[in-house]
Point group: C2
Chain length 360, copies 2
């Protein structure tokens, strides 16, 4: 079987070079006679992997000494709680922007911890949309401002990051390291690894060090960011194999020219796909407002649900996987993260033209 | 390089057959043209893996319909908090037995949540020891009784599980499925996967279903056991690759005759090693009271720290890895979990005799 064109929303495509290296050394890592999975997290072999993963992520993200990389577990879903538990003091409040399913989940968890100000709610707009982040009524005394930089289901993405009076916190699960950004605007950034960084089971957190001490001592030790910060994410056994794959992906990203290099590739892939949608004379209709179209999750509709089902079915027959839209919204979604190769998008665009010819 | 004899305390040895199968299909799982890491957690390919992992674990653990298997993240260290947050009601108390480093950590976190009764404390005894679990003053009205079935650092293991007036909860991280046990004695069992079940990054929890509803709704959604119970551990993206490896290990365990089959092998390995220690005329001295000796982590001392360092160094030269005792206690530790082959123990015993001849 040839390699599939993988448009999964996450877990998603990984670079073939990364998988091939992992395969080559799966039973014998660096001549040690053991798999990397079998190495102690406190041993030399794994430690070199861990340190390189931290160093490469710091480099790729352009971190200054004011920030620290953490590798945690539990995904963005646990971060929805961990952020307010650490950063929202008793009696305080936090600003949130509700841009869709994922922002909404973050808000729901934050409300269990403290007062939440909703600065804007575009979560029910059709076409899917985001607010003008430059014009939101940010609170002067909020503990932080929480945004979702890319809504995987809605197919929307923040085109820029605003200056905010309190620390900006972002769920970047689906666009982290797909483009450069200025970390100094942020207090904290988090991302599940399974879209742009590696396999599921690793959560990247980047935190501005002065925020580490905000958590109350009464918080469970494992939920305090400082616990893992003090131990370089080795307080307890980390998900070593996931971090190893993330490290290999970080090498691959550096070889692509880092965030700026991959952004150029990502923009070209997305532009080609949006051009195919917009040039279809209305057969394909993008579901997001153009100003907030995501370069990661491209979402569109066909004239009927029947045609959408046929589209997904025929795509699978041509080895294109994962194009069915999220079950909550329907339609078509092509997730074209960093590791989705340009050839996959070319194949999809050709298939779209062919499908329209037959069914348009 | 030939395969190392891996005595790591965790992450630890995995069955070579498992690693070889994972390697063979790492870039193309079941002819799908994608790695299992690249499959959606909601797709058919991964779903079959997930369902088999759940079914095999249920079978291996002899679960009745009253129990449910969960695959979580965060390791035993997060369970130290998640257990009391779910099971210890406001104003209630829980019984804990302090048998060493790991029990102590569980107690520390439980104290953040509620009242803790320490039924016994053997954590500072030398030789390392455990109390008589049949004679402990279990509270009649405790929310639960927490025990650590195997202390990885102390090298001690509970020889049996007591009948308790309130639900028994066990941290079984280092002896889960190394021997059969009667699940009906337990309310909840948890274990990090990285010793007997698979790679790090997956946490097995087995919970009696009637306990699922004890958690307050105010608890973060991701920390409520019922959240993952309702969704068969697919509420959010699970650590798919880790669960896949755990599934392969579960097949391997079934082929070995399940818990009873592997117990016979484990007992023989441990007996051989303890015989080598006890037959050394005092050159090697076991650190645990014989009645509580662990079949998983065999710990001993040599006449001096210098000889211990030399022992570890020469063992490494003979491809025996991970024999240095935990940094908090020193000495020697051989972790001989399920996947540590009998040949590794044979090689170690031969090396011990040789080392004593030269240095005794």
């Amino acid at each position: 079987m040839s390699r599939a064109y993988n448009f999964n929303a996450g877990p998603a495509a990984l670079p073939l070079e990364v998988l091939e290296q992992a395969k080559a050394e799966l039973t014998d890592f660096a001549g040690t006679g053991m798999s990397i999975m079998e190495h102690s997290h406190r041993g030399k072999a794994y430690d070199a992997v861990h340190q390189e993963a931290v160093a490469n992520m710091s480099k790729l993200l352009g971190l200054t000494d004011d920030y620290q990389v953490l590798f945690l577990q539990g995904g963005a879903s646990l971060q929805f709680s961990q952020v307010p538990l650490n950063l929202l003091p008793a009696g305080g409040s936090a600003d949130y922007v509700n841009t869709g399913t994922w922002a909404n989940k973050a808000i729901k968890e934050a409300k269990k911890v403290g007062t939440v100000n909703i600065l804007a709610d575009t979560s029910k707009e059709i076409p899917t949309n985001m607010p003008d982040f430059a014009a939101l009524p940010y609170s002067k005394d909020a503990a932080y401002v929480h945004v979702t930089s890319n809504e995987t289901i809605a197919g929307t993405e923040m085109p820029f990051f605003p200056d905010t009076p309190s620390p900006l916190v972002a769920d970047m699960s689906s666009d982290i390291l797909s483009r450069p950004f200025d970390i100094t605007k942020f207090g904290l950034v988090y991302a599940g690894a399974q879209k742009n960084l590696g396999p599921s089971g690793v959560t990247l957190v980047v935190i501005r060090k002065d925020l580490l001490e905000r958590a109350p001592e009464t918080l469970p030790t494992m939920l305090q960011y400082r616990t893992q910060a003090k131990e370089n994410s080795l307080y307890n056994t980390p998900p070593t194999f996931g971090i190893y794959i993330l490290m290999l992906v970080s090498r691959w990203l550096l070889a692509k020219g880092g965030a700026a290099g991959i952004e150029a590739i990502n923009k070209a892939k997305a532009a080609k796909l949006y051009a195919a949608i917009d040039g279809s004379g209305g057969f394909y209709k993008g579901t997001a407002v153009p100003a907030f179209r995501s370069n990661m999750n491209v979402t569109w509709r066909l004239p009927s649900e029947e045609l959408e089902a046929l589209f997904v079915k025929e795509a699978i027959a041509q080895n294109m996987i994962g194009l069915k839209g999220h079950r909550s919204v329907g339609g078509i979604r092509a997730s074209i993260y960093n590791a989705c190769p340009p050839e996959a998008v070319d194949a999809l665009v050709a298939f779209m033209a062919d499908f329209q010819k037959k069914n348009g």
